[in-house]
Symmetry: C3
Subunit: 296 residues, 3 copies
């Protein structure tokens, strides 16, 4: 299996912000395990219309496990023509009753070896960071159970809409594998006591609890899930792509900074935003009481 998504091969926008290289050794890239099957069909399906790209985890028989193949397929689908003006927003959903059950445990046995394990977790981490570093908003649309790295995927998306029957868990501790990487994403969206109860007990929380605590941005009845998610996606697709892109990047950039640095970064971003063609068009249209025409 060819190594996909090496740091040097990524587009420049992926290198901005926190995507800085770490000291050698701390995160050395493992070698791929030998001779894994590549003949199976692609585990994701994807299509794009009116600026909205739908990516669907399509391996319901394996509960949409985030195998290395699945992760790389997802990574490719997210990265594909990321710079195109025709792409405005991405929606990640899943086939079947399980959104995703997390890593494929058959890839984590002793026989696969430490280097292969390293590749699995690093690829997974890269996909999660890619979501945050991507130029367009990425929405998780969840209808069912999301566990371990599946829960991490939901937590990592910019927005997350779920049906009220969905639930969320990080049950790795039950099988002796603490959900430490999912804890990175989870710990940044829910209060720490909620995260720790999920991590220490492995017990699921409901969609309503997930909404209450910040893991989701919206919960709707199952029959309205697609409608509501697409309504948000269409709204975002109707906006100026460079404006949204600038806003997403600066939001994540300022968040960990001290207050003064954050305001200096964002004050400059506001001035830059106004200097964009779409920035001035929007304000002109508002003052002239007409709809703006974005040039993107």
């Amino acid at each position: 299996m060819a190594t996909v998504g090496g740091l040097r091969a990524l587009p420049r926008w992926l290198l901005r912000g926190r995507w800085t290289p770490l000291p050698a050794g701390l995160c050395s890239r493992g070698l791929a395990g030998p001779g894994r099957p590549e003949s199976e069909p692609r585990p994701t399906s994807t299509w794009q219309r009116d600026g909205i790209r739908n990516i669907v985890l399509s391996n319901p028989k394996k509960r949409n496990a985030l195998s290395l193949t699945m992760l790389k397929s997802l990574q490719n689908d997210i990265l594909h023509e990321a710079e195109s003006k025709d792409l405005k927003v991405i929606v990640i959903s899943a086939e079947g009753p399980v959104f995703s059950s997390g890593h494929d445990l058959k890839e984590l046995t002793e026989e696969q070896g430490c280097n292969y394990h390293t590749e699995v977790f690093q690829t997974c981490s890269e996909v999660m960071m890619l979501i945050q570093n991507h130029p367009v908003p990425i929405i998780a649309m969840v209808n069912g159970l999301a566990t371990a790295a599946g829960c991490q995927l939901v937590a990592s998306c910019d927005l997350a809409v779920a049906s009220d029957k969905s639930s969320f868990a990080t049950p790795g501790v039950n099988i002796g594998l603490f959900c430490s990487t999912p804890g990175v994403a989870l710990g940044r969206v829910v209060p720490r006591k909620v995260a720790l109860e999920m991590l220490f007990t492995g017990e699921p929380i409901s969609a309503q609890q997930a909404l209450l605590h910040g893991l989701l941005s919206k919960v709707v009845p199952e029959e309205r899930l697609e409608e509501e998610t697409m309504r948000i996606a269409k709204k975002i697709a109707s906006l100026s792509r460079p404006v949204v892109s600038l806003g997403k990047a600066i939001f994540y950039k300022q968040l960990p900074q001290d207050l003064r640095t954050a305001y200096c970064l964002t004050s400059q971003a506001m001035v830059d935003n106004l200097a964009l063609r779409d920035g001035q068009e929007g304000i002109k249209a508002f003052i002239q009481k007409r709809k703006p025409i974005w040039s993107h």
Copy 2:
């Protein structure tokens, strides 16, 4: 228009904590735009009684837009005799159905120029940081719609009480100007998925949702808004000003630190607090089962 609030002119207590200067160029102060009218009446009104200063945004015809004039008027009202023992707490409210609609878009057109835009955003950021760096608690009392920098003002106050008919939005993206500076304050009080949904869609959240997610500290029916806000203000005004002031400063100072540094800072603050005259008076009064008499 004279430049007001330059860093060097601010009182010393404003320089403590995170108020450190940044590298030149990153945040260079723009020149004021030429010949702006100054003849209009002051856009805020203010009065003070029993230690409580009320500042009211008083330009309801313009939806209390945070024009440069409004921002500087607000800044002056907050800074006025900030060191006086007679000031114990500040309440910021607004006239009319809109708390504040954010920046005055007429100040953000191409014609006003980049330097003027820079002055607008820097002055706005200074006002928001001033609230956090001020020696007394500052409460937002909201009865209506607060959008963009108006929402940022609510998020920046130490406490925020709102009527249940109030709502909150960051709709800049609709007119091609992403609410990046409001995102600084918003992103520090609500979970990031809530902030991002507000920023990407521009859609409002209700007072109840705002309370749930941390943007407000209390929601009450409209007819009880003033009563409840003044109850909290009077409570704070009845306390020892130097104790409250020390507590507010150390809270914001320790928050971004690692745990050990935070505990070292605050352990020292507790010892310093006990060494204050009001610190010992309070404990004596408690042990003697009488009301404390603060010397401030």
Copy 3:
């Protein structure tokens, strides 16, 4: 009174992570006050069964005040055989209607002197950090009022289960002693406006509000408090101790890091976890559809 818990005397696992020494002077250890009574009975009681250690604050007459004696007793009970494989989880509860009322104010008078005050706050801070740095999960079981440092103790535990009649406050400001050290723990688990309202007004919040805002992980009726807490404790005691221990340590370590560093740390932790005997046993058992047998 002998000095207990000096930094150099602590086991090595307490030194990991954020437990780094600070510049001399910032946190110099105060001398113990002269001649304090030591004849009183131990203010905590403790027993251990099936991997679960119960520590009970047992001075209900003094509202379980966190006197220096109480703090050191608690510290000893937490530290006792912390490395033993027989210890899987700790539950901290209290006798009587008050969980804990915080510091003993008689220890904070002028007469006790600044060095003694320093020892009180440093010992308290050490106990709070010890909870986070301890190798097993620590659960607060709260049935009643928790104020000031008592509220801080609840906030500092990894998990916190409370009866619905419990309430939480940081009322120090009423007696001229701002709850600055409790603010460290509180400010890291609840939104800042909630923390500031508690700190500035001293007013209590209910168990339900505490749950909503992240101070608690669960609220149950009083008659189910022990049952539910022990259910969680037994669940944790049934898991692999080294796996839980590794997971707890890495969770707190990654939380304040930037995203890339956090993923590097945790990706390595996942690989290390898989290399543990219990890591491979858990995955084998799962694939073989049997219960895992932990070797710890």
